[in-house]
Symmetry: C2
Subunit: 414 residues, 2 copies
């Protein structure tokens, strides 16, 4: 725990130095960090090899091993990510609003860094460079707690980044990594609200709920997505087939994939056979309610299906009598991520956009677009499924707070 206390203190000490870095300086560091990652590819791959060997020894699954694996191309990708962040405009110092209330004060609301950002994640070493890039560009210190499976890779990446910081005259403690990856230390880490201003967990639903339950640091909840597509009675059915097929199968393991389909009673007979045929190309398993499996043979859906984020080639199917029923079902079971309606009826579209409670609500498009890059943010630190501070894809702005700068000429309060 002593180590944790020191990391917290050092992060807090670096904070005022980061807060006042110029955009030019920050971009210089980011570009040099990109070069350094590539220059030290050998060292990083060596460390990664140790993690991979350990993973295989412990019987890690192929999917996880693939997430853990680094290659020269993947390191080039991490470097390119840093270069792209350098290209983005710096939100720090932007004037959000100016006000001149009756008391004659001139008030400016100005964007500032959050301070110290904690990130808890699992076995994806690319998050290490990514999180550093986004936090550094926004003048934030970052403290990382990655998974034990990736510890050697993470250490190597952080060492390279710290060397760059040092050589550029910036505090190396702008990035820290907890090298003790025990659960006890993770639990203590979540209580460091005296040093850390915000904690962002990235990973499985289990990880995220552990953080929400235990953290005394303000948390931005990210991640899980039980996303629905509602095919309205006024839908263009071939468009609906394309969109559902894309949202379900283009990439199954992501939070913005479609997990549940809702179909209006009036078009179920025409639509479900079309869709089933298309989805059979990818062997998607359907699980439906009585009215759905009355049209197309499929397994019966149980109550737990409506709330499931399958992250698999499975889709639940519900038939409803009205748009309102669809909205009600979505608001009951969704996770506040991404929801879509397929309809040619403008009023239906507007009602859906207004009444569905989620970060991203779509008309006639795939839920797969909920993503910082697709939204034009240039990068993302995660997708928030809570309403406080940031909702949906989080770009650089989500890593900022603001302060009020106030100019007076002797005003006192009467």
């Amino acid at each position: 725990m002593e180590g944790l206390e020191r990391i917290g203190q050092q992060a807090k000490e670096a904070e005022p130095l980061l807060r006042i870095l110029t955009e030019e300086k920050k971009n210089q560091v980011l570009n040099q960090a990109a070069e350094a990652l590539i220059a030290h590819t050998g060292r990083i791959l060596e460390a990664n090899q140790r993690d991979m060997d350990n993973g295989r020894e412990r019987g890690m699954k192929a999917g996880l091993l693939d997430r853990l694996l680094l290659t020269p191309e993947r390191i080039e990708g991490m470097a390119e990510g840093l270069r792209q962040i350098a290209e983005l405009s710096d939100p720090i110092g932007q004037v959000v609003k100016e006000m001149t209330p009756a008391n004659g004060l001139k008030i400016r609301q100005v964007r500032v860094p959050l301070g110290v950002v904690g990130i808890i994640y699992e076995a994806r070493p690319n998050v290490t460079a990514d999180a550093f890039g986004l936090c550094f560009k926004t003048g934030n210190v970052v403290v990382l707690r990655g998974g034990s499976d990736a510890i050697h890779s993470n250490e190597a990446i952080v060492e390279v980044l710290r060397e760059v910081l040092k050589s550029c005259g910036c505090p190396p403690c702008a990035i820290s990594l907890l090298t003790d990856t025990s659960r006890e230390t993770a639990a203590e880490f979540m209580k460091l609200n005296r040093y850390i201003d915000v904690l962002i967990p990235r990973g499985s639903a289990g990880l995220i709920s552990t953080v929400v339950e235990n953290s005394t640091i303000p948390v931005i909840e990210t991640g899980s997505g039980n996303c629905h597509i509602y095919v309205d009675e006024a839908a263009d059915l071939s468009m609906a087939v394309e969109i559902v097929y894309n949202a379900k199968t283009q990439r199954i393991g992501v939070c913005n994939a479609c997990e549940s389909l809702i179909v209006h009673e009036k078009i179920k007979d025409a639509f479900l056979p079309l869709l089933a045929r298309q989805l059979s190309e990818k062997q998607v398993e359907l699980r439906g309610d009585e009215r759905a499996y009355g049209v197309v043979p499929m397994k019966e859906a149980t109550e737990t299906d409506w709330g499931m984020e399958y992250l698999d080639y499975i889709l639940s199917v519900k038939v409803v009598d009205s748009l309102s029923q669809a909205i009600h079902h979505i608001n009951r079971y969704n996770t506040g991520h991404s929801e879509a309606i397929i309809t040619e009826d403008k009023n239906h579209a507007e009602q859906f956009l207004r009444e569905v409670d989620a970060a991203a609500v779509y008309v006639n498009a795939s839920t797969r677009f909920t993503d910082g890059f697709e939204f034009g943010f240039g990068a993302e630190i995660g997708i928030s499924t809570q309403k406080l501070h940031a909702r949906g894809p989080m770009g650089l702005e989500a890593l900022t707070s603001y302060k009020y700068q106030i100019y007076g000429n002797g005003q006192v309060r009467g």
Copy 2:
């Protein structure tokens, strides 16, 4: 605990109904609520009398009894507060931003309510009407947990408000009050993250830290203010005397009062005697470091003084050799609330504004202006001392989140 579960469920059920109320409807309810509070003055005063009697019996202090007391004028004040909130423009539905990224989607970022807001507060019954007004105007359901000392007053006010909601065709559960004011129930309340989207504690530092430590609901930390004024070497000394006098003595029990003075070495001999004379009018006790009590007789300040929020006629005094030292001291001991510099030097002012880490940073004005009304927000739900979501005075906007409404024409992700 069963009662708590039911209150949470009912709040969540009311949420979609509140989300879609028109501004007109919301204003109608607010104005009728104002009338109803006045019409039921007798009933509310009767309930308040019971709380006052109980308070006196238990030996409640005069200051607390005064906060608890309602009078016809104070009820008129509560009603006027609701009428003023009705006059403010409704942030819900405002388009914050529009984007058209390369994928051809049209993305609108639109303000929406947070959902269900929990408020934990102490013995001030006026907060009950106030919190309802601000939450209702922003389409939020509110669940209140007031202090046990004010339970009868709060119940009477909530009953009146619920009658108005019902008569206007709105869900009465738009406002709920926990009538079980035990600590156990408060602790359970803080864990209701499945029903409540944000929790705002209002009251003592002890209350706020209990909430921060125990809540699984995202918290907006409000309140404590260890505010400094730095009198620079380039200060207008008579302006400095006026401002420090105002910030220290105009109202001592508030979070934006000045608690600590920092004085540049070069002007300490000229300034401190002037200030001490002025502050002696209100018998302000000074506690200073060696260089300060070398100029004006005063008690010696100890380490704990630098971190104290006195809320009393006491001021700590520190002498520094430079602006940087002053900033360093402030960033070490402040609570992120309000900080001021008195200077005629523009560069010093800019450095102070940039480098001091607080919600509100002033040049040549009293810290007492940090307040939603003074900032022109028309109302406030509290003053945030955290960086996440909202910082400084929180008006209606602080009670909103946003969603992305996205229009496509068949887009799928490649």
